[in-house]
């Protein structure tokens, strides 16, 4: 096999991308070509939120084995409520709405880092607990405030430029920035160093604490951003809007080729996996598959992608 093709197949993101393309072809074949472009547009439009959240979760997971952020659903919901509550359905409040939503994300990230690094609580437990606390804030806030996103935000999440939703273009730009940071910047090196061997990284002079704090803050900020945008997309916040993001944020990271043990990450893979999962759902719905069977098929296909991609993932110690 020519070198270029071998290199392509060796990418961690290859199987997720191949899976997405394959599923799309199956859908298009079934509908005899009708709506193929609309399927891609729709898939991008819906996957972008999962991809953004996935990129954040990816940064946390890359910083070391056992690192995970389970407060994402509550984070998304709180950012959605706070930003929409600030906007109150008017364009004038949009900037303030974004500011307050993103700020809440940063604060949550710092709080998580405090629990994990200062109090030495395992990340899974710490973020689960902080998620519950944030959920209560959401509950209280939802009762006292009218929360509606600004019309400009709503159209931003649905308008398309040459068939691609504007929000997707913006998210792709943000993701490209993350790739640049991971590949070119010192912070990127430090994250992977921590993930591969925290002791060695510390001995080599990497400020492990600071790196991990940045990872958690970046994750929760991405989640908050996704929450603000998602509220615009769904017409307003709701208390259980974040529930689907918990497991999907982990699924898209892992299926996308990022190593759960840390030390290596794939942004392209995270995106491909988000699109793959949405197209999978599309395929099952279009084929009118029995609901019981849907979960079985979804699980089987995810296992297939992970098994095939096993060779591409370096085994971290």
């Amino acid at each position: 096999m020519p070198l270029a093709i071998r290199r392509l197949v060796a990418q961690p993101s290859f199987y997720a991308t191949a899976g997405a393309v394959l599923v799309w072809l199956v859908i298009v074949a079934h509908s005899h070509g009708v709506g193929g472009g609309a399927v891609i547009s729709g898939a991008l439009n819906y996957s972008v939120f999962f991809a953004l959240v996935g990129v954040g979760q990816m940064l946390v997971m890359a910083s070391g084995a056992g690192n995970i952020d389970l407060s994402i659903p509550a984070n998304i919901t709180l950012a959605a409520y706070l930003s929409s509550g600030q906007m109150q359905g008017a364009n004038a409040g949009m900037a303030a709405g974004f500011a307050i939503g993103l700020l809440s994300g940063v604060i949550i990230g710092l709080a998580n880092a405090l629990l994990i690094l200062a109090l030495r609580i395992p990340p899974m437990v710490a973020t689960l607990a902080s998620g519950l606390v944030i959920e209560s804030f959401c509950f209280a806030y939802s009762r006292v405030s009218v929360a509606k996103p600004a019309p400009l935000l709503v159209s931003f999440t649905t308008q398309r430029l040459a068939g691609i939703p504007l929000v997707v273009i913006a998210a792709i730009v943000a993701s490209a920035a993350v790739i640049a940071v991971l590949k070119r910047s010192l912070f990127g090196r430090h994250i992977f160093a921590c993930g591969q061997n925290m002791t060695a990284a510390w001995l080599a002079g990497v400020n492990v604490r600071r790196t991990r704090v940045f990872a958690y803050v970046a994750c929760s900020t991405f989640a908050a951003l996704a929450g603000i945008l998602f509220a615009g997309f769904t017409g307003g916040p709701s208390l259980n809007m974040g529930s689907e993001f918990l497991l999907s944020s982990i699924a898209v990271v892992v299926i996308g080729g990022t190593n759960v043990a840390g030390g290596q990450a794939s942004v392209v893979g995270t995106w491909s996996a988000s699109i793959f999962l949405f197209l999978l759902l599309t395929m099952l719905n279009v084929f009118q598959v029995d609901p019981g069977l849907k979960n079985v098929i979804t699980g089987a296909l995810i296992i297939a992608v992970l098994a095939l991609g096993k060779a591409n993932r370096p085994q971290a110690q």
């Binding site: 079934h30 509908s31 009708v34 709506g35 609309a38 819906y46 769904t234 709701s238 719905n285």
Partner: protein
């Protein structure tokens, strides 16, 4: 003469007794419940339907406590977790509540605990999400009729022809099966109406939006959407995001669904219909529990009419429904007793179309 007087006296007494006995079976039972304690355990976490149910309960039950009708009331809410609800119920049994009203997080998981409560002499009334334990009284809704009513409306609105999408609820639940059965049976009367797709919205707007979006690109023009409640707003968003013409979507009773219906009606004369089960049935369950404690005979299962909101009543319902909640009447003691008596007599309950709007 004297014996005749005596005889007629006895006859009169017997007559009075039998009428008063008959009166206790129908009508309000007046046993003393002023020291009784009634608790509500709701296995579901907050969505707008549940919140409205709790608000209705709180308003009615705390007023009953204040008026001295019952001694104490309590609400415990859950997290869609049957195991947690079991623990909460067992605590209520230990705390010695006289009646427990349940919205069961699972049709079967709570049966053991409910039986325990019944055996301890506690009155158990279940509403909305029912459990299958026979000893509990069940406040039921005719979900098949839900499907039937919305399909008839759709047929009339679309001129008995067209393509439509069905949005179902949580797969496997009795409610979903019944509503869908009602829809499918009614469709047989309208051969020119074609179901072109089915998705499962789990009675949730966000999930409904996502599911509808997956099938829209590959479907022909959709003229109508048959729903199960909680999913109207989300499916509307999906059509908007896909840039498709908005079909006739049957709405539920959530405030956002009603508000967007009004908005579209005021802007371009959009027409639709709303049907739902009223969250206020928590108050029916409350009064049922109180009446049983007061000595009334109540059928093991009885039915509450569905809440239908039409063009001409949309504005008044919307005005009475705060943001983030669902439209619901609060039922009084009198309403509940009339409902129970109709069910006991085998009479189709008077359509309680607009019970008093909450003040």
């Amino acid at each position: 003469m004297r014996s005749m007087l005596q005889a007629s006296g006895v006859a009169l007494l017997v007559g009075l007794c039998s009428t008063s006995i008959a009166f206790a079976a129908a009508g309000v039972a007046t046993g003393d419940t002023s020291k009784k304690r009634i608790a509500l355990t709701d296995g579901f976490s907050s969505n707008s339907w549940e919140q409205s149910a709790w608000n209705a309960w709180k308003a009615v039950a705390s007023r009953a406590v204040k008026d001295g009708v019952i001694g104490e009331q309590k609400i415990i809410t859950g997290n869609d977790d049957p195991a947690q609800q079991i623990t909460q119920m067992q605590n209520l049994i230990l705390e010695g509540y006289d009646a427990i009203v349940v919205d069961a997080a699972s049709p079967t998981a709570l049966n053991g605990t409910i039986k325990e409560a019944c055996d301890a002499g506690i009155v158990v009334v279940i509403y909305d999400s029912l459990a299958t334990e026979p000893c509990a009284i069940k406040v039921n809704v005719d979900y098949k009729d839900y499907g039937v009513q919305e399909t008839h409306y759709m047929a009339q609105a679309l001129g008995e022809k067209g393509n439509f999408l069905e949005i179902r609820g949580v797969a496997g639940s009795e409610v979903d099966i019944d509503i869908s059965a009602g829809i499918n049976e009614t469709l047989k009367q309208y051969p020119n109406m074609h179901k072109v797709g089915t998705v499962y919205g789990n009675w949730d707007g966000t999930i409904a939006q996502r599911q509808v979006a997956t099938v829209l690109p590959t479907l022909p023009q959709i003229d109508g959407v048959l729903t199960q409640g909680g999913d109207g707003y989300g499916s509307l968003q999906a059509f908007k995001a896909a840039g498709r013409k908005i079909p006739t979507i049957i709405m539920g009773n959530r405030q956002d669904e009603l508000a967007v219906w009004k908005e579209m009606r005021d802007k371009d004369g959009y027409k639709t219909f709303s049907i739902s089960s009223a969250p206020g049935m928590s108050t029916i369950a409350f009064w049922t529990a109180q009446q049983i404690l007061a000595g009334k005979k109540v059928p093991n299962t009885f039915y509450v009419p569905l809440l239908a909101i039409r063009e001409n009543t949309l504005d008044s319902w919307l005005a009475a429904t705060p943001v983030g909640t669902a439209a619901s009447p609060q039922y009084t003691l009198k309403d509940t007793v009339e409902l129970i008596d109709d069910n006991l007599a085998g009479v189709k309950p008077k359509d309680l179309p607009q019970p008093k709007l909450p003040q």
